[in-house]
Symmetry: C3
Amino acid sequence: MWQPITNIDHLGTNSIMNKVWQSVDKRKKQEHTGLMSVTTGLDSAALLPADERTREIAVDLYREVAEAPIISPHGHVDPALLRDDRPFSDPAELLIRHDHYVTRLLFAGGAGFAELGLDDRAPRAPREVWRQLASQWHRFAGTASGYWLQHELADLFDIREDLSDENADATYDRIAAVLARDDFRPRALFDRFRIEVLATTDDPLDDLSVHRELRSAGLGGRVLPTFRPDAYLDPASPSFDERVGALLDATSKPGTFTGYLAALEERRAHFIENGAVSADHGVFEPFTAELSAADAERLFAAARAGELDGEERRLFRGHMLFQMARMSVADGLVMTVHPGVYRNHHTATLERFGPDTGHDIPVRTEYTHNLRPLLNAFGTEPGFHLVLFAVDETVYSREVAPLAGFYPSVYIGAPWWFLDAPDAILRFRSAVTETAGFYRGSGFVDDTRAFLSIPARHDTARRLDAAFLARLVQEGRVTLPAARRIARDLVDAIPREVFKL
Amino acid sequence: MWQPITNIDHLGTNSIMNKVWQSVDKRKKQEHTGLMSVTTGLDSAALLPADERTREIAVDLYREVAEAPIISPHGHVDPALLRDDRPFSDPAELLIRHDHYVTRLLFAGGAGFAELGLDDRAPRAPREVWRQLASQWHRFAGTASGYWLQHELADLFDIREDLSDENADATYDRIAAVLARDDFRPRALFDRFRIEVLATTDDPLDDLSVHRELRSAGLGGRVLPTFRPDAYLDPASPSFDERVGALLDATSKPGTFTGYLAALEERRAHFIENGAVSADHGVFEPFTAELSAADAERLFAAARAGELDGEERRLFRGHMLFQMARMSVADGLVMTVHPGVYRNHHTATLERFGPDTGHDIPVRTEYTHNLRPLLNAFGTEPGFHLVLFAVDETVYSREVAPLAGFYPSVYIGAPWWFLDAPDAILRFRSAVTETAGFYRGSGFVDDTRAFLSIPARHDTARRLDAAFLARLVQEGRVTLPAARRIARDLVDAIPREVFKL
Amino acid sequence: MWQPITNIDHLGTNSIMNKVWQSVDKRKKQEHTGLMSVTTGLDSAALLPADERTREIAVDLYREVAEAPIISPHGHVDPALLRDDRPFSDPAELLIRHDHYVTRLLFAGGAGFAELGLDDRAPRAPREVWRQLASQWHRFAGTASGYWLQHELADLFDIREDLSDENADATYDRIAAVLARDDFRPRALFDRFRIEVLATTDDPLDDLSVHRELRSAGLGGRVLPTFRPDAYLDPASPSFDERVGALLDATSKPGTFTGYLAALEERRAHFIENGAVSADHGVFEPFTAELSAADAERLFAAARAGELDGEERRLFRGHMLFQMARMSVADGLVMTVHPGVYRNHHTATLERFGPDTGHDIPVRTEYTHNLRPLLNAFGTEPGFHLVLFAVDETVYSREVAPLAGFYPSVYIGAPWWFLDAPDAILRFRSAVTETAGFYRGSGFVDDTRAFLSIPARHDTARRLDAAFLARLVQEGRVTLPAARRIARDLVDAIPREVFKL
């Protein structure tokens, strides 16, 4: 059973990583004496290869990057969290309620939204919600969420045992006690996490005042906005006409397609002035098309009037993705595309609890045909950067890596969403590297709304890249000096280049 | 060359597993002295990880479950085999003729159906058929069928060498001698295999008298029927009208769509009375749709008259899969879906030798869109269990695991058919676990019509689950106590819960 | 840094493989003393498993085949290279300019076609082109191209360090010096590479005089032509009418569909007379259809007149692939199909620099439905051999292996193009073997136009097959004697049988 630690104050004085190397040496000794036992704790060999010689190389490579600053060029942390810098309210709020990776699995296991503290009409005490997680902890074994939680519990709260009914209250109390400390407020953690760049995701009409305030907040790193115009580009969005109207009003542009494009360009410029480096596009499919000016004007008017049929809506969306590329060529914003997710699969849950509640399900996605119009027009434009993410891993070797292996603009997005997990990351590396190498990728992207999981996610990626590279070294496919350079570039030079940081 | 064993009588006194641990120790000694050589025999390290430390963990986990009873909640063993309890006739009948996994590969290698004993117009002596297998044994190296045969030959007949022209007759004689023994008849094996539950697959009009007889046969475990209505639901089935007529007659229901539904419900009730826990659906695609009562009535009449076009037949099938879910919600039968197989690809072989002759070929399959109507209607219904199998492994990480990671009703079917093999099982675990964990799966399902292969298949699954879990433990992703619990639950609590046993 | 070797003349006296076993022993010693370090050199453990015991088995299996002659039954080497037997002009010509695997990755990394020496209007000195490769060497780390180049540099030029700006000129000079030697001309290398069979790919109207000349050139192996009729079968080909006209003229056949078929048959006969064993089909999709004689005649006339719509062109292509199978049944040419590539994705590059310039991108491909008409007609015809290649690796386990596991005519093509790389080869083996075994595959096919890469590619395949087999042995799934036989058969009996050599 989990042993309570009497003096929790010493935790704050530890950096997140500083116990890592102690445990390396400890483990090594254990191996040599044959006493090694795997426990809850994360030690340095976590996620590294089992084979001893390969693991030695992996540890070597991991040491190169374990303490490197975090560059997080795409994610969903609310910047107000850092502006307000209030203490996190409670363990359930911190680790469960806002993480739909976690709540969906508890829901699948039989817990209702009310029991998870997600039903405003039936509020639950956070301790009860925490007990749900502790009681259902076995459901997270082997999952990405489980691994991140394990990492956070160990590194941030020194909890190194499986959660259970027995230790639910004690772990809750322990976390709650830590949360009350000043050095556990968001800004203190931002610096402790060594975050150098953190990009948020923002509405095109956001005035970005929060980001401006944060610039003078004395943070050790930068918080950048990201232009995310989906709802303004998709005629199928229920609020399309209203949003376009607001966009035109805010920019004083005429209600023509040309005015609409100019309004979008003006808001992009506003984002760039406030530090944005990228524009993000969460489309259902990466379909692109170029319409004539007349057709675009006609479809735009009909879209606002709600008069498009399905194929016309698709054409309009495809033309707007094409236009977004054109704007990125012009203004330099990196274009990131996140396609392939059927959002809000379960209508009753959407209607009752809103979006982002755990029932977004991937679908088969096509890139080679869909992106051809865009790439024929802009694929070799100097300075254009197009990062292609995927939740359909079949496209890695078949479409995305070959595209990135030719078009200078195309970068392979890091494993995303359901694929942002240890085995999936290794499958990703195996699928893309032989065709496109390491230098056509985006570098790691955490894409998280769970602020506390950022170090766990980056550390996971660093360990797995070290593991993958170590295998290539051990197999005589990459030299050790080359692997060292690559390991460093993957967390530094590559994301800086791809995201123009 | 294979060495004949002079005293075969001692074989019967050995339990299947009891030599395993002896060989563990033997192997361990060999490793330490550097003398280990891999021979034909299955020893305890078979299918377990090569890395020494990981394998030690895997052996530990495998020991938890190696001798656990077999729960087989879905398969195709003929219950008459157990009722009649006759000796198996000969080695070819036992291991070749009824296993289209085996005959297809011999056919692909050049043997005609006649040479395989499958052509009634050109009968062959079973010994000649056996010689075919022995002569072509190299074709099975590395295949799932080869592995199961190897396992059966070793565990049941103590034959631990590759088959060959040289030992064809000796092995034939050895097996034939064992088959003549009383303790090798089906019921004796049923008990020796420690089968606790064996589900068969049955026609909705089956009176299930065989199952009733077996209930009082004194078997150590239960034999349960499964409701399999495909031919009664698909207007493209050549006997659709005739079967529906028989169904309505048997239940004295009127020839309306409502009568048809009531007839199906009545037969399901009959199955439930006779112990059935699930209804199985072998559809081409998991397409579902909800029709209005009027449309359903109209399509039903046209279907019986053979007047539907392709799209209407699809709609009718989709509506019937939807109806089957509705009935499962009402009567509690677990709904299992086996989609994605193009049956009887080679028309000439179908016409000459019938179905299930080795030329069923998988196709790309879609779940996210297809199942949405069904899941929106019933996906969160308490007590509804929907097990989704796949022969298209791209859906594991992309569609099936995410669906099972939200909908409480959805369980991930164990690797099926072509994917029910060592490497494919590990790919399956890797693909689904990070999204859905271990507790959203069905537990192992052997789906076999080859009675003798049941222990080999379950043992394979247990070893590979131990191997997979051991890697997670070794990589610090799951604790050893958690892995132990999971290993046990995978063969016990999980199938019991999913199949309501 | 790379150390110049003073005496390069000794290189020629070494066979390619003869240093392998020295390094095996050296490495082994290093392992035992714990001093092993992985450097640039390829030693015998390259690509073999990390686990020590598994690697020992793999080394054992690799020894069986390391020095076996090369059978290359499909590729794109220009036979004039061997007829002319001129010295290779320079390192860039040899290793960069004609290898679009290499140039595409340099282009993606920012180098223009001019800097790569590919723009005739802006010629570059080969040394400058070489510096590009050296400077961008890190982009090839982990890629298939990088691995082959590394292998060639080490084995042929004794360059065992990563290329870099620093050693660019020295390595250029070293290679240039070797190229000037008589024993480095194409025919000498052909023999040194131990090539027993090398198939080229040729236009149906080629008179094959080069192949006839080579027959009396005293080469140690045979150079065979391959019939490749794509441009004569696809009405979408811009020169279709012209080519068909030339075909009919050359064979004095009437301009009817029947005449067209007869003309193709006559040219196939010409190829067979000149040693051809196969006909190759690079189609977009493996769609097949059988048209009536009247429909075929009508579509043929319309195709020549350029009057077919998209669906009719597809039907015509499908019918011609069907006809090619019919001809293969009749004349015995092995039919190889390479589908699934969107050729010339970037129109501007095609127009400026022509085809085969690095922007052919795979697409999702379907085999089960598409090939059914062909397989129903010819799939069980004695002597018919149909080799199915794929760039969409999802079809390996789902469609191609199951097809090859039933139809005696179907063989699984070796990993092709983007999948012809270490990890992809292992994924291929894992995906197909459990369903179809080792004896339904084609044996390795290098498919290369880079003559110097032939030994590297075959050696890669041999190592990886040894690695895969060793794992099966170590896991108790295949016996060591069986694995030995399979390893040998994969490079000898299997390609001989499949390609009728």
